[in-house]
Symmetry: C2
Subunit: 428 residues, 2 copies
């Protein structure tokens, strides 16, 4: 997991790092620090290396079998080491959401960035234009979804010329949804304008199908398929009308419906030379709740996913102490909103251990449930017969990777005995 | 706002910083960067210097008039510059929640730390013991709420002797609440044990009254007053029984009921030599929703607070671009869960501006409402007649400081024209 970023000091800035330990990331990998032996200043977030490797290979095989490419959404982890792992395992590029992400990715040494967002704002446009001007190998894409947005981009690029046309994709969207043209005739007019522009060129058609949430699977899939078909039809029209520059891209982006994207765009690819780009951000880390349910559905739905055998594994856990058991059925643990996300659902208490050199994690029954998070505390309901006591360790599974990752500047890579064998940095 | 921490480079790691700008924090303060003139790579979080100064002086006057001391909870901001401002304005110390906080505060040069939490775990106890051993001036306090916790502390301190007794406070709690003894007889037994221990000494009685939430004010205040009275009675008993070491402390900790704490503990202080410690973390930053409502109540309830004139001001805003207006009543803005908290309520759209050298913010009607946050996008419902267009700026108020602060490594200090006049760092 090599990265071009110079090493940074590991010190008090890093949560979980033992105060008595000194060194760099290479020293940390070899120090034999054990979660279960209390070598870390818990709480700490750990990534199981076995799960990362399994998940990365899983997606490599999925894209190979479906003839798609992937630019994993980097917002999930913002980690140079994990980006390097994804690029080494065949990713075509890395997806960004903001100009700030682009700037971080450039510092990481990423040469191809798909910004799945509008590029808005004087300083943001000037920054990207400057990168394009100074690095002829920098391959950058972003989205447009209104004539007004094209006006703004053209004005920004005129003020800060990148020396080549900016590659854009037209974004389609859904009524009451996020960004993207609602009206396909307006999208065609925008495509024609882009094709004639001296500042921008049309490279593809795109949407974020993950905006469809809260529906039953059948209704959701029908709505998503209709959106994907709109992308195909607009892509076909733009291709047949000669509006594209280069190999035209069809892209969609979520972490739960990429099988539908691969199938629908794959069918269109048999008729025309489309480049199909997936952008899942969460497959590498996965989780113990939200994407677990969605990927279980995907594996049941997709013969190609099913053919890969074991599905994605949850890679991320946060380990913390029991601080108190003030009532027989109430445990308070030493982690909170500052350590683990709850935007989709509360964390899952997966396992516990009484710490020591020979400690091994034991499963926790489902009757151990996190019922509230404060900034730095978790409240659990537990059975009266639970063994948990102050000083015991609990490992928590996450409900959504993006909102746990951003709470850690460093995550510890561990083996399956929860001994630290490496680390990755994040830059949110 | 001086701090002992060495300066850190300002570069791509900092969200919002212009890519074309190079320098350190002092350069940033003098560069004249304007939010409204699009000098920053938005989104960016800004702190109004006028509000910070007003709020800091407000609390200085409140504690002076009530005869209390304050150790502001540092978890809100984790900012060395803001801690320095609070200490310069008379704070007695800084409150921490975790051993990791203690380690960061020590790096900031903080000499007195009140850890409003149990100190649990081998590496965590060893770290604090080491700090006490190597710095005779380090003044540290933490909580205990069970005999089991005392066992763990004594074992940890025996293994890593700090050279003096660890100062602890007994924590009381409420049924179905967070930590703290539910039974006052058990708390007395713990006090007696602590007083006789060679490892720990009893310095006071404490609770976190902010655990009482979701009740009507009358019911809430009655429950809080009963908890504060339990603290007073236990403090009186321990004082009269000679169980305390040094000047006994009574402390409670939230940001919304500190008037009740000051009044109840202040009355007890007339009878016995109690040191009354408040721990509000949010007064300095305040907000536009949650604490706004609670502090409005406090000002209506507390004659002393009312005597201070203007109450707390919201200091923090996040500014972002309109990215899209894909439907007449839907605006998508370029900020999300990664930039602003929504754990209490969604952000408030306060003001907007069409950017430029002469731009001035205009108020937004309440019909402009944030209805959803994705990781990097906000969805607003807007009136069909709203002026907002892609490229316009929106300033968002926050609903709770703690969960917005932790999304920024640097916040820009601005004057009331939103020109950058300084910056503060955070270390979450």
């Amino acid at each position: 997991m090599a990265t071009k970023l110079p090493p940074e000091p590991l010190d008090w800035r890093i949560k979980g790092l033992p105060a008595a330990w000194h060194g760099d990331a290479a020293d940390l990998a070899g120090a034999g620090l054990s979660v279960l032996n209390e070598d870390l200043m818990l709480p700490a977030a750990v990534l199981r290396r076995s799960a990362l490797q399994h998940n990365s290979r899983w997606m490599q095989r999925f894209t190979a079998l479906t003839g798609t490419q992937i630019a994993p959404h980097g917002k999930t982890t913002m980690s140079p080491e994990l980006f390097a792992m994804q690029m080494a395992d065949g990713a075509w590029g890395i997806t960004a959401a903001t100009a700030g992400h682009v700037r971080a990715y450039r510092a990481f040494g990423i040469g191809r960035i798909f910004m799945a967002n509008q590029l808005v704002g004087r300083a943001n446009i000037a920054y990207v234009a400057g990168e394009l001007r100074t690095d002829p190998d920098f391959d950058f894409y972003c989205l447009v979804d209104s004539m007004h947005a094209i006006d703004l981009l053209e004005a920004g690029l005129a003020a800060s010329p990148p020396g080549r046309r900016l590659q854009v994709l037209i974004e389609l969207g859904l009524s009451s949804g996020r960004t993207g043209f609602r009206d396909d005739a307006e999208a065609v007019a925008a495509a024609e304008r882009i094709a004639a522009s001296p500042y921008v060129c049309l490279r593809g058609i795109e949407a974020f199908e993950g905006v469809v949430q809260g529906l039953e699977p059948t209704e959701r899939d029908a709505k998503v398929d209709a959106l994907l078909q709109r992308i195909v039809r607009l892509g076909e029209h733009c291709h047949d009308s000669g509006l594209f520059t280069g190999e035209p891209m069809l892209s969609a982006g979520g972490s739960s419906l990429f099988d539908r994207v691969a199938e629908t765009f794959g069918a269109a690819r048999k008729e025309r030379p489309f480049f199909v780009l997936l952008r899942s951000g969460c497959y590498l880390i996965h989780d113990s709740h939200f994407y677990k349910q969605l990927i279980d559905q995907l594996e049941a739905r997709s013969p190609i996913a099913a053919s890969l055998g074991e599905g994605l594994r949850p890679a991320l856990e946060v380990w913390a102490y029991v601080h108190s058991r003030p009532e027989p059925t109430r445990v308070i643990a030493g982690l909170g909103k500052r350590d683990i996300g709850e935007d989709v659902a509360r964390p899952t208490a997966l396992a516990w251990a009484h710490p020591g050199a020979d400690a091994a994690p034991l499963p926790l029954s489902e009757a151990h449930r996190v019922v509230r998070l404060d900034d730095q505390h978790a409240y659990l309901d537990v059975p009266a017969e639970s063994s948990l006591q102050p000083g015991d360790l609990i490992g928590f599974g996450i409900s959504h990777p993006c909102t746990t990752f951003d709470k850690w500047k460093l995550l510890y890579i561990v083996d399956d005995a929860l001994v630290v064998t490496g680390s990755i940095r994040t830059y949110f």
